[in-house]
Symmetry: C2
Subunit: 465 residues, 2 copies
């Protein structure tokens, strides 16, 4: 530890309570990794603030010592977002985990950033409400806002960005601002809510979030539809969307992934390409929607549909889907996960998935295809032995080919996981001249470049990791 | 005309075709006003570009001559957005009015900024599609994106910001960038789409927009519900929303405004506080929703509901609603319109409208209350004799009180009209420290401050209009 680091550590301990600041090797290691294949790298210090004022103090001290800071939720990111490759202070938000206010009548909640989505939903259930965004991980809401996460219900309820009404943010200067208000819509000033959502800790630290929630639907019906071939399943989805059926969830799981589901989740689902569907609405409307959907999937060769009406069976179905990445990890001990995350216009989805599946087979990689096909967003999930250089290289080429395919068709390199460290190399190709606008914004809001440096926006002087 | 202006004019005429550049007094005057009470002020020059390259040339020349530029659609703004109080070049986008591409299967369209919403909808109808955002004016889509416009359907389909997938933007430097892609969702880079939407020409000029469109619903049912008192109508809306009925439109029109509707639109609607409602869905679901809605409005004292099932009657109903501002203008010759535009959390809506109605009566101003109450956004519309100083002052105090009421309850000073010149004075109060962040962004993207100067963001050196 350098003299500078010692000085910073001393000042942090003065500013916070002593148990809130640590250099314990195990804790540092825990804050040096995420759930992906990106190589770990430990921070110098981990701090556990309890409120915005403490976060402000930390950020000011980091500025005084010219030290990077990296916000940390639960470390469930998939592109190395939380890994402090430039060293510095990891700010762990786990102590800021209170649900502060439920404005039932306004369908709004105010939470601290360390609250997880399941924690919030458990509380909301008492009010007949739910929070819609559901990535696979039980991530923190602060982390989900930082990456603009989404999930199985985004096709109906939108992504994280659509739910954020207001953020309390600690800026690089240590100043605390609010980015929005409680109104349903606003045309007042630049839209800072949507700029900060998805900024991955590079523009400020979130210390409070006001989020939109929804009433639990009157009726919910879930279904699993099996198809002979993945192409049929994808084309059925495209037809369902184009028919205007208001589906609440429509998830694709290929046959390889259905095997993992059954192994991990104690289910005995048919191991064929499957659509997991859900419909929300009133009873009569839902019946009509489902009948129309059945017609469409049958036209696309659907072999069988199983409906799940009661809540326990529905929960089992969606838990199985949510745990799919963990199923792969569990089924491949010692291996690490690489997940592609492109999103394409819906008319390009069939072709994109067909090409990905073919390449996955050609390269003989272990993995499967799954995803939020209602949004045009799919994942190819590959399990890697990081000591096998050839396998890692093959997987990287595979990922690059998938991204190139999507970008050629005006899609995006990341539908929901974010840029982090892993997707920076595609930013120039995807954004062109707009990347310089992003850099100008970063420089304007973080002039010293200490907020999660070298993530999302590459540093100027060739200082890349 | 100064020597500098002559030089600029000469160079503009060299860069464009001669009929695309004018200093004709009538044309200047037309580009020096909008539809509001804000006092007119003419630009020096009006230009009519035909493509992005020409816009880029204009912006570069303006930069070279240190001359402001003001994008102009149809001049339907309500807060002086398009009025060139700092003089300069008004860029009229009326010649860029082509629908460039309809990606039917992707529910996307690509248009030039001068296309109007009715022009787009006329074309989309051939494909069974529609564009949802419908402000009262038949505004241009470029202008609607610039102010983040919304309308009667935003309660279901969202505001302008929710529809914009990609923008082609000419920056202050003259460089042409793209802010998005065609994917349904993206977590790649900072969200420039939503930053540029609502930026009111202060960050760049839009030269192309890719917008989300929707399938025309299988069934549509419109209704007018009459209430003895405005409070009952508002409380009925709050109950409908809280019951989770997926209403597609719910508009409040008070009794004073119903009189204007009948005078202007050749209707004989009952002149009582009225909700204009619409439901979209499948036949069975819609029937159940409407039955539930009828129960709720009846609990709130609704005196009668008239349903409009056929398209002609529905169109008449919504045309009457859309033309309400014009009805007031027509009914008050020589007067100018001031429209308040706050948006409040839905739980605060009853109180806000009650307070506004009381003040309007106390002050004996000519006007009414109407608005998009499903979003918590309502307008008090006041007709002013601008030569009557006392009346104007009363109206200004009225507007300020309404804004103050909304801001005290965490609402916003503008739900959909934007800041322009008229709402700048509330920005500090509404945004606090976040206003400096907005200023930093403005400075980073428009360092010379020539893009629609002194709108949305106040100029630094006390150079306010």
């Amino acid at each position: 530890m350098t003299v500078k680091e010692k000085g910073l550590l001393h000042e942090l301990r003065e500013a916070l309570k002593s148990h809130q600041v640590t250099t314990n090797a195990t804790v540092l290691e825990q804050h040096g990794k995420d759930e992906s294949y990106h190589h770990p790298f430990s921070p110098d210090i981990v701090v556990f603030p309890e409120n915005a004022e403490e976060v402000s103090k930390i950020v000011k001290l980091a500025g005084a010592y010219n030290t990077p800071i990296i916000p940390f939720g639960l470390g469930t990111s998939l592109e190395g977002h939380v890994i402090p490759y430039e060293k510095g202070i990891s700010i762990d938000f786990s102590q800021m985990n209170k649900i502060l206010e439920i404005r039932e009548k306004d369908f709004l909640v105010r939470v601290q950033p360390g609250v997880t989505r399941s924690q919030l939903n458990k509380e909301l259930k008492k009010y007949g409400l739910f929070f819609s965004v559901d990535p696979g991980a039980d991530a923190t809401l602060g982390g989900m806002a930082a990456t603009n996460a989404s999930g199985t219900t985004s096709v109906k309820y939108g992504v994280m960005r659509d739910q954020v009404r207001n953020l309390e943010v600690v800026l690089a200067s240590g100043e605390i601002i609010h980015t929005g208000n409680l109104a349903q819509k606003s045309s007042s000033g630049y839209n800072l809510n949507h700029l900060f959502v998805g900024s991955e800790g590079t523009l400020g630290c979130f210390t409070e979030l006001t989020l939109r929630v929804y009433g639990i639907p009157e009726h919910i019906l879930a279904a699993r539809a099996f198809f002979p071939h993945i192409d049929d399943a994808v084309e059925a989805v495209v037809s369902i969307l184009q028919a205007g059926i208001p589906v609440a969830r429509v998830e694709l799981v290929d046959d390889a992934s259905m095997k993992q589901v059954n192994l991990f989740s104690d289910t005995d689902y048919i191991e064929k390409p499957t659509l997991f569907l859900e419909f929300h609405g009133n009873e009569a409307g839902l019946k009509q929607d489902v009948a129309f959907m059945e017609e469409i999937v049958s036209d696309h060769g659907c072999e069988a549909i199983h409906f799940e009406e009661d809540q326990a069976a529905r929960n089992k179905l969606w838990d199985a889907r949510h745990n799919l990445a963990y199923a792969y990890i569990h089924g491949n001990p010692g291996k690490k996960m690489m997940v592609t995350d492109v999103c394409v216009p819906i008319s390009e989805l069939s072709g994109a998935i067909r090409a990905a599946r073919q390449k996955l087979d050609e390269l003989k990689l272990t993995g499967g295809i799954l995803g939020h096909v209602g949004d045009g967003n799919y994942h190819a999930l590959v399990m890697l032995d990081l000591t096998d250089r050839e396998e890692v290289q093959k997987a990287e080429v595979f990922n690059e080919q998938i991204v190139e395919y999507a970008l050629e068709r005006n899609g995006t390199c990341t539908g929901e996981h974010g840029v982090g460290a892993g997707k920076m190399k595609y930013q120039e190709r995807e954004h062109g001249g707009a990347l310089q606008v992003m850099k100008n914004i970063k420089d304007a809001l973080d002039p010293s470049g200490l907020l999660n440096p070298n993530k999302l926006i590459r540093k100027a002087k060739g200082e890349e990791e």
